[in-house]
Symmetry: C2
Subunit: 211 residues, 2 copies
């Protein structure tokens, strides 16, 4: 057996240290739909409250769709230069979908029927307020989007999480449903030459307190 923890310690922090938000992509590099689906298959391993999995991914990769997306993303060139830009949407939690989402865990004995019912009642109450529902849509989609970004990084791909877009125009252009919030765009591809270093961060000591 490999000394797993040691390798993983090295590798996740190495991924975190070397990842940069890439602004220039190699426009001729493409990812196949199967490769994109593999990355999304890792992203959906992210946790979500009550295992709601309240997310949806739209991989924009045809030239025409990328042109439309660029139009609602303030004309940023990387939208067309990246191999794909994934629109990561969060969904307002729908407690009514929980029985279906939790059925495999109940069948596998990971969760009792009683717990699944209690979760449904708790979720229905927790997300009654529209602001709480929106917060959860953003949180869940960001968790999955972060997994997607690190899955790409782990495969040696470059990425850039983007929040510079017009949410209303994007919603209309891509026919998002009323309960879907476009949370971030993740451009994925191969970095063009001239890759820059990661921007400095404030050290832990400046942002961490103990109680």
């Amino acid at each position: 057996m490999l000394p797993k923890d040691w390798i993983m310690t090295l590798e996740f922090s190495a991924l975190a240290e070397r990842r940069v938000s890439t602004h220039q992509f190699e426009p001729t590099f493409t990812l196949s739909d199967a490769e994109i689906a593999d990355l999304v298959g890792i992203a959906v391993r992210a946790p979500s409250a009550y295992n709601l999995q309240n997310w949806r991914f739209v991989a924009v990769r045809s030239p025409e769709a990328k042109r439309h997306l660029r139009g609602v993303a303030f004309g940023q060139a990387k939208v067309e230069e990246a191999s794909t830009v994934v629109i990561v949407c969060g969904l307002a939690p729908d407690a009514g979908r929980l029985p279906e989402r939790l059925a495999p865990a109940v069948a596998a004995g990971i969760l009792s029927t009683r717990a699944a019912e209690a979760w449904q009642a708790a979720a229905a109450s927790q997300y009654e307020e529209p602001q709480a529902a929106r917060d959860e849509a953003i949180r869940s989609a960001t968790l999955a989007g972060t997994f997607l970004m690190m899955a790409a990084e782990a495969k040696g791909l470059a990425s850039c999480p983007m929040v510079g877009f017009d949410p209303l125009a994007l919603r209309q252009t891509f026919d998002l449903r009323a309960d879907e919030v476009p949370v971030l765009l993740l451009a994925i591809g191969m970095a063009a030459p001239g890759h820059l270093a990661q921007k400095a961060r404030r050290p832990a000591g400046e942002v961490l307190s103990f109680l």
Copy 2:
């Protein structure tokens, strides 16, 4: 040189596949403040819009503080059983702080002075609406919280991201500032025996479309 990409591919997806939200922690296991700071040092490598780094971490690890936190987290036992529960706060973006945040990148030649100024103007405009500012607080803190969770996982620790808390009571109990949003609690420690498997996810094909 190690075959880096191969190892990393294996390892991030392995981390994502094996991570579970742990509900039972070994109450006698402790983490030192230095160990917690190391994890937060990896978490702050997360990206944030404009490199705002609009987050703050409060590591709750004394018995008394954990008791108070449990009181505002619906009495959940894992708050007291985990070694620490980190309150991950997102901050409403303050474009006025950007020159200070970006100064190291400008000094290192990663970002031009002109670009830094343009970013400041863009950020001031983008977060003028309170809802946009709140969304960004949640997004940034979730990005950093996800890094913190995976950093813990990579070290062989167990964790549980939690959204089951009373945000107003937590704000008062822990003296959060008005511009801080408590986005998630991350319980970190050692899993107690009886560790369960990861709950099933919908496969990529059900949540991904291509354009």
